[in-house]
């Protein structure tokens, strides 16, 4: 797929990940000619997943990261998994793509078609009015200009297309979706669920809500999950949602889509006369040649950090601080979830049972702190605002438990070959407050190989997150002890911003152009034909994994953009 010599596109979508794919699909399906610009390489669904079918013995170093990769991907390696041999090709080379951190910030990225939609955790949790009204209720940052009713139909639309498996709980603060049949809990998880119900009136355990197909109904080009649990390598059967398997093929089926890889957007061009953007300047990643590509609508879906970097780079007489940055909020209010805290335990029951198969999802315990309905049942006093949920799993330990002891010889091998004790783990995921001082800026003293400024992060978790973490740990201990499990062991491995790979904020949504970058339709307040629909628009983080929300807002924004275009509001956007 190559660009025509005299390209004419109605819309340009910057980025091909989870948001970019949805923008492309929705715009194409409404008849617009769409160009998707991807800075990285092409990845063809099914054909370009080189490790999808490899077994442990077929992977170099039995899938361990090696020293050479550590020197090339030291920041990606902080995840503990990104430079394993089976998936390291989905993550950037940190030497080629440097950034600066005034405080530690793990910027985990993949530069290829589909972006992180190939490697995401697939958790699909809706935000609720508890989240959309959180800022106004506890006085942090600014209010969201939308409420749950505004986005609920778009959650429905997205869930039906991507396929989300899960169980309905009827909780107002974690709204149910349109679910495919849930994956089963195993015996320990069922046991823990019943123990929670027995001891608490407001804590629920449910199977994770994830974007996997389970309902035996074909979604074009995709089939049911077969529990291979090799999702991050790319799924040849498209059983979990990715741009590559789902939205981009849907967009291509319209005949309206053009994909251009190796295309780095350096800036969005603004026409002060029309008060609109006229197109984008693109640098060919290989030849370094620059090209202007015009369009009437621009969708910024490059990911939170990259989108904001592009907007900051898009300076003009009208916008000397970056496109749409009248409020001076661009780059500020950077957020991520904090995690890596909780507890583990060893249930001493069900020794004669085994967790069969490789179910690609764990369980979820929805938020139970600072929720009105919970307070009504059992008033709680906590010293922090917002809340957290737990993700977790129960499984029998395998041979790797041998790393933690020192036996040897025949008996060791025989012992490790058998299933080990059951183990259950709770991992807290907590909300991060939006704070102005947490920000990204551009460093024009250190340019990348394309002559573009590098990104500099200055972001820290604060006091509220620290207090929340103590409660996360204590509550994990309490729940496991109340369940009667042995060897309850708390942990807090510390959490750095970026580490959850849920970075968001920096071009927040709001009612007032003086305090926000985009309006309730994801349009830049002062540049109506530029939409920001990746994580950059988030006004608060919730505790929920955010991708489903990005997709819903993107679909909604795409329909808004087409409507505006058809009304002739973007006709003055001329190069």
């Amino acid at each position: 797929m190559t660009i025509k010599s005299t390209p004419t596109f109605d819309a340009i979508v910057i980025g091909s990940g989870i948001s970019g794919g949805w923008a492309a699909k929705e715009l194409c399906e409404q008849g617009l000619k769409v160009l998707v610009l991807e800075r990285g390489r092409m990845v063809r669904h099914g054909l370009d997943y080189p490790t999808a079918h490899l077994d442990s013995w077929q992977l170099p170093f039995r899938n361990s990261p090696n020293q050479h990769d550590l020197t090339q991907q030291p920041k990606q390696a902080r995840t503990g998994f990104a430079i394993n041999q089976d998936i390291k090709h989905w993550f950037v080379n940190d030497i080629d793509h440097p950034y600066e951190e005034k405080n530690r910030f793990d910027w985990i990225r993949g530069y290829h078609l589909g972006g992180r939609s190939l490697t995401w955790g697939r958790q699909c949790l809706r935000l609720s009015d508890l989240d959309f009204s959180a800022n106004i209720n506890d006085g942090h940052a600014i209010d969201w200009p939308v409420r749950y009713k505004d986005i609920a139909p778009w959650y429905d639309k997205v869930e039906q297309f991507i396929g989300v498996t899960g169980e309905k709980l009827g909780l107002a603060h974690l709204p149910d979706g349109i679910f495919q049949p849930p994956m089963p809990l195993n015996c320990i998880e069922k046991d823990f669920k019943s123990k929670l119900a027995q001891h608490y009136g407001n804590r629920y355990l449910t199977i994770g809500r994830v974007a996997h197909l389970t309902n035996d109904k074909n979604i074009l080009g995709r089939t049911n999950c077969t529990y291979r649990n090799r999702c991050m390598r790319g799924c040849p059967s498209g059983s979990y949602f990715s741009s590559n398997s789902s939205t981009l093929p849907a967009a291509q089926r319209t005949g309206n889509l053009t994909i251009r890889p190796h295309s780095i957007v350096s800036k969005i061009i603004y026409d002060n006369h029309a008060k609109l953007a006229t197109g984008v300047e693109v640098i060919d990643a290989n030849s370094h040649e620059k090209q202007f590509i015009p369009a009437k609508i621009i969708f910024c879906c490059a990911s939170t950090v990259a989108t904001t970097a592009i907007l900051l780079q898009s300076k003009s007489l009208r916008f000397p601080d970056g496109l749409g940055n009248d409020s001076k909020q661009l780059g500020h209010n950077l957020m991520d979830h904090h995690f890596r805290v909780g507890a583990t335990a060893e249930p001493a029951t069900f020794d004669d049972k085994y967790d069969k198969g490789k179910r690609p999802v764990g369980f979820h315990i929805p938020r139970f702190r600072n929720i009105e309905q919970c307070k009504a049942n059992a008033p709680e006093e906590v010293d922090f605002v917002r809340g957290y949920g737990f993700q977790g799993y129960a499984t029998r330990s395998d041979w790797r438990r041998g790393f933690k002891e020192m036996s040897f010889g025949h008996n060791m091998v025989k012992s490790l070959a058998k299933p080990g004790p059951w183990k259950i783990a709770l991992i807290g995921f907590g909300e991060c407050l939006p704070r102005h001082e947490n920000k990204l800026t551009l460093n024009y003293d250190k340019l990348d190989q394309w002559g573009l400024p590098t990104v500099s992060f200055d972001c820290k978790f604060g006091d509220n997150e620290a207090k929340m973490r103590k409660d996360m740990k204590n509550q994990a201990i309490e729940m496991l002890k109340k369940a009667g499990y042995s060897n309850v062991t708390p942990y807090d491995k510390g959490s750095s911003p970026g580490q959850a790979i849920h970075e968001m904020g920096t071009a927040r949504m709001g009612k007032d152009p003086k305090t926000s970058i985009v309006n309730k339709h994801n349009q830049i307040h002062s540049v109506a034909n530029v939409y920001v629909t990746d994580g950059a628009f988030m006004t608060s983080s919730g505790y929920q994994n955010p991708s489903l929300t990005y997709m819903a807002f993107t679909a909604r924004a795409a329909h808004h953009a087409v409507k505006q275009l058809k009304q002739g509001l973007f006709n003055n956007a001329k190069a």
């Binding site: 039995r62 090696n66 320990i188 004669d352 967790d355 790797r400 020192m406 010889g409 025949h410």
Partner: protein, 191 residues
């Protein structure tokens, strides 16, 4: 161990006395399958193989003879460990070799390597916990009196770790032989 014993028997049948280290060197020269590289010397690879054969005896499974775990361990040390970790490993390996040589002279029988491995790994869980805690320290943080022992553990535990990885992720073990076939009956899938 079995090959060492065989060689020793062959040589003793000729009426010649010979040390374990000499045996190992002789044996090394005859092993075409063992590789050497810039980090691990051939005689060290042979020593590693001897330790591996105690940690995971070849007779454990028929297929395990095909694994060539010592070569796998050497390969991992060369490519997975950092330069600093490699230096620490080699230092520990040299100390272990000296220790084994001493045991060999004292006992003059083929169990010296087993004694060596057992002296480090046959310890109580409480002692294991203390060793693991100390292993998380950098060498400068270790008390001088404990340094040699610390280095020996570094080396031995790394050989053990890579041996387990090589064994349990090998096709002949994982792909074909159901090791958990004697899992308590009745086997009940849990859903």
């Amino acid at each position: 161990m079995q090959r060492r014993k065989l060689l020793k028997l062959l040589i003793s049948s000729c009426g010649v006395a010979i040390s374990s280290n000499t045996l190992l060197k002789t044996f090394a020269n005859s092993q075409s399958k063992l590789i050497t590289n810039g980090v691990i010397k051939q005689h060290q690879t042979v020593f590693i193989e001897s330790i591996v054969s105690i940690l995971i005896p070849n007779s454990q499974l028929e297929e395990s003879n095909k694994l060539n775990l010592a070569q796998f361990v050497s390969h991992m040390i060369e490519f997975i460990l950092s330069d600093n970790e490699q230096s620490v490993f080699i230092e520990g390996l040299s100390l272990l070799q000296k220790h084994e040589s001493l045991l060999s002279r004292m006992n003059s029988n083929e169990s010296s390597l087993y004694q060596l491995v057992a002296s480090y790994l046959n310890i109580t869980y409480a002692e294991q916990a203390r060793v693991f805690a100390e292993q998380s320290l950098i060498i400068e943080q270790v008390m001088p009196a404990n340094k040699d022992r610390h280095l020996c553990y570094k080396c031995l535990l790394k050989i053990r770790e890579f041996s387990l990885l090589g064994f349990f992720t090998a096709e002949v073990i994982t792909g074909k032989k159901p090791l958990s076939h004697d899992f308590p009956i009745p086997y009940q899938p849990c859903t």
